[in-house]
Amino acid sequence: MKLQHTLGGLQGLGPVDFQKKVFVEKWETRIFGIHTAMMALSTHLENSIPDYSMDEVPTTFKDIWTWADLRRGAESISPFAYFQFRYYEKWLGGITGFFLEKGYITQEELDLFITKYLKEGNMEELALPSKQEDAIDQQIIKYLEEGDSGRRETSSEPLFSEGQSVVVKDPDCSDHTRLPGYLRNKVGTIELVYPDSYAYFPGPSDHLQTPQVSYSVKFLPENIWGKEYSETGSVVYADLFECYLSNL
C-alpha cells in the first residue's frame, strides 16, 4: 500500500489548514491550466461518448493523459518526501516528468528556458511565445463543456443488491487506485446500486477501464476503526467499483 492511497484515518496529525484560496501562488494557475489542456487533448477522447474528432485537432500531443496519469506521476515520489511539496508542486513535478520521459521536451531545453527566465526576473511580466492555434483552444473548451463521462450502458447484472453486507477487497498496490486504503478488508452495506455501469479512465488505475456496476457503500465507524472508536453519530459512504467488493 502506498501511503498516498491510505491517508484516511491517519492519526497524530496537527490541525487542518483552513486555506480557502484555490491557488496560493500565481504560478500554480499555469500548471493547472497545462494539466487541464492535456486532459482535453488526450488521444483517448476519440473513444469517449461526446463526439470528439481528436485526429483533426492540430496539436502535437499524441498521448493519453487523464487524472490517473497525473496521479501516477505526482504520487510516484516516496511518501517520505511527498508531503514536503505543496499540491501543485507535485503536479508540476509529475507533468514535467511526463513531457521529459515522452520526449516532447528535453532537459537541456527546459534548463535553458528556466535559466533565461530566472535571469530576466519578474516572471509575471515576461511574454510567452505567441503561437495561436484556435482549433486547439476550441477542442479544450469543447472538452470542458462536454466532459468525458465514465457512464456506460449496463452490460451485466449487479453482483450485489441494496441492503447486502459486503467486504472490501485488498488488491495489490498499484500506481493509482480508486479504493481508499482505510476501507480495505472492512465490512459495509450496499446503500445504492448505481444505474448503468461506470468505467474509469484508461491507464494506471487497477483495471477500471472495464465498465462495471458501481455502488454507494455505507460503513459504520466501528466497522472501520474498531469498537474503541470514540466519535459517535457519524457514518461514511464511499462510491466503490464492483471489482473492489466481495461477499461477506
Partner: protein, 208 residues
C-alpha cells in the same frame, strides 16, 4: 526546531521563484512545440473565472430553497436540474458528468471529502480550495469529522448525524445546505449571495 509542515503556505521566495520559472519554461516549450496554443491556459483559467464557479452552485441552492419541486429534482438528478435553469453551457461537462447532491437537514449534516485526491464538482463549485486538498483534512475528516468540523468553527449538536461522502468513484458529490431562518423573504439573488463553497461541501453552514 522549525517544522517544515508549518511552512505550507509560506515557502521561501526562492522556492516559489524556481517553480515559477519552471512552469513558465514548460508552458513556453509546449507552445513552441505545438502541444498547446499560446492562449490555451488563459482560456481555461477564464472558463473557471467566468463560467464555472461556486456562483453556479449558489444559484441552484437558492432556487431549491424557493422551489420545492426544483429541490426534489436537484436531489434526484442534479444534472437534470441544471438543465432546467438558465445555466452556462457545460454543466454536465468536465468533472460534472455525474453529480449528486446530499441534503442537510436539522438531523443530518453531510460532509464531502476525497481521501484519495481532490475530486470536486467543477461546474457547480469551480475548483477546489486548498483546505479540501490538505492531506491533514483528508486524513482526519474520514475518522473524526465532528472534531474537524468543530475546528472549522462548526459545532454540531451531538444528535445530528454526520454523513461523510468519500468521492472515490465517478460521482461528484456536493451539499444542499440548510436555509438559514430569517431569509424566507429574500430573492433568489439575495440568497445566492450568502452561499459559500464551504457550505456546499459541508464544512460550514449558510449564515445570514
Amino acid at each position: 526546531m522549525t517544522i517544515p509542515g508549518d511552512e505550507m503556505f509560506n515557502y521561501s521566495a526562492n522556492r516559489e521563484l524556481e517553480s515559477s520559472a519552471k512552469v513558465k519554461a514548460l508552458e513556453a516549450l509546449l507552445i513552441e512545440k505545438g502541444v498547446i496554443s499560446s492562449s490555451s491556459v488563459d482560456k481555461i483559467l477564464d472558463y473557471f473565472e467566468t463560467k464555472m464557479g461556486p456562483f453556479n452552485g449558489a444559484k441552484l441552492v437558492a432556487k431549491a430553497w424557493k422551489d420545492a419541486e426544483f429541490k426534489s429534482l436537484l436531489l434526484k438528478d442534479c444534472n437534470a436540474a441544471c438543465e432546467k435553469l438558465d445555466m452556462p453551457t457545460g454543466m454536465s461537462g468536465a468533472e460534472g458528468e455525474i453529480m449528486r447532491v446530499a441534503e442537510n437537514t436539522s438531523s443530518v449534516h453531510n460532509l464531502i471529502i476525497c481521501t484519495l485526491c481532490s475530486c470536486y464538482p467543477w461546474p457547480t463549485l469551480g475548483l477546489p480550495p486548498y483546505w479540501f486538498k490538505d492531506p491533514t483534512f483528508r486524513a482526519r475528516s474520514a475518522r473524526e469529522p465532528r472534531v474537524v468540523l468543530s475546528e472549522f468553527g462548526l459545532d454540531l449538536n451531538p444528535e445530528v448525524e454526520i454523513r461523510v461522502w468519500d468521492s472515490s468513484g465517478q460521482i461528484r458529490w456536493w451539499v444542499l445546505p440548510e436555509q438559514p431562518s430569517g431569509t424566507e423573504h429574500m430573492t433568489e439573488e439575495e440568497l445566492a449571495s450568502l452561499i459559500t463553497p464551504e457550505s456546499m461541501m459541508g464544512v460550514s453552514k449558510v449564515v445570514l
